[in-house]
Point group: C2
Chain length 230, copies 2
């Protein structure tokens, strides 16, 4: 049993935090009283407490209580007892390093596979994939492994950006980076544009939101798609 | 003894490979007949042979012979016998993973410290720093360590891009990513814009090229600078 909501971004330009998703979240978490928030990705270095407060404020508008996983003495127990999860964005290396170091990757996966709703944005969506190897983030810490939850049989590239034909910059485009990934890895990659999100309910995977996805499969030209059943 | 040339990029928009650096390279390599090329970063997945051929073509215009390090049966011996080095850009994770796996990080550093000229572009410049933790690249492979050559007491962020005030994208800016790096690391970071390069001769470090650098030190506001003596 699986019930996942994986968003490219938490926030659309000029909008409050999570605003574009609140209606969807109200339905997604309709049977849930308290959401356990996983704050380890710390965007911009924000503290666990401050990040949790930001999330709690947004979730209050849909009448959900939020508890930060970092407030549990035994976070593995916190996971076992949780009703539902939200993992926020930030730095994927930091998030993955923390989950491995605290021994939480397996308990979290097991709990989600019992049907506990899991919502992720950005780094929190990345970790639902096979591994974190299509993140855009900077390797600010060294995780003991790049493996992640493997809840879906593909990787996500969050905040996917189309190549800018007017750019004079020589840094690699997102598409070139993913092509390099496919020199060494066969996992399909879903380039998820800001405003798009994926709903996975058991075996049904549905792309929702504003845009098609840019899909990258090994030894194929990238293509626009909505079918995420690989 | 050290003689390093570390460039943000190999190529400026609309120009041939290395064109803007050829005059500088002619002087930098003036005592050298053959440059040993380290092709492991494989931009866009190009083969070692094809990458070396591209470099050889550019270096032929300044009458330098190029040998790919990958053509040596024993690459550590190839390093010991080399006159000078060029490490090209591509994926920093792949470059660092290969240098560690082949046991080349220490021999390369030792040889460079005897005075053998070292030229790097992009990923090849990153590895001159303390570690690779300010790369922009995707973690397509898992290196056994993020440590690099430590030839300079700072890290480089190659292809440095100023935040775009008109952007509606919610992905982290380069400055935010480097701020996150400084939550966990005290190494100064030099944001090196395309068209800029650093010349290090023993204890003298000089910023050259078109732009000032954007400098990031822990617990300080980022600033524009040309003084890279930390």
């Amino acid at each position: 049993m699986k019930n996942l909501l994986l968003a490219s971004t938490s926030t659309l330009h000029g909008e409050p935090y999570l605003a574009y998703l609140l209606e969807t979240l109200e339905d997604f978490f309709k049977t849930v009283t308290t959401v356990t928030f996983i704050p380890y990705a710390r965007p911009g270095g924000i503290t666990h407490d401050a990040y949790t407060a930001l999330v709690a404020k947004a979730f209050a508008t849909i009448n959900k209580k939020v508890v930060g996983l970092h407030t549990h003495k035994d976070p593995a127990k916190g996971i076992q007892e949780a009703e539902a999860f939200f993992t926020g964005g930030g730095n994927t290396f930091l998030l993955v390093q923390q989950l491995h170091e605290l021994g939480l990757m397996k308990p979290l996966k097991s709990k989600i596979l019992t049907g506990a709703p899991y919502f992720g944005t950005s780094a929190g969506s990345n970790i639902a994939g096979v591994n974190m190897q299509t993140t855009n983030d900077m390797p600010i810490v060294y995780p003991s492994s790049f493996e992640t939850l493997g809840l879906v049989p593909f990787n996500i590239n969050a905040h996917y950006l189309d190549p800018d034909p007017t750019s004079t910059h020589n840094g690699e485009t997102r598409a070139t980076r993913i092509k390099e990934f496919h020199c060494f890895n066969s996992t399909p990659v879903v380039g998820l544009r800001e405003g798009s999100f994926i709903h996975i309910q058991d075996k049904n995977t549905t792309l929702k939101g504003a845009f098609k996805a840019r899909i990258f499969e090994q030894n194929k030209a990238p293509y626009e798609g909505i079918n995420l059943h690989f």
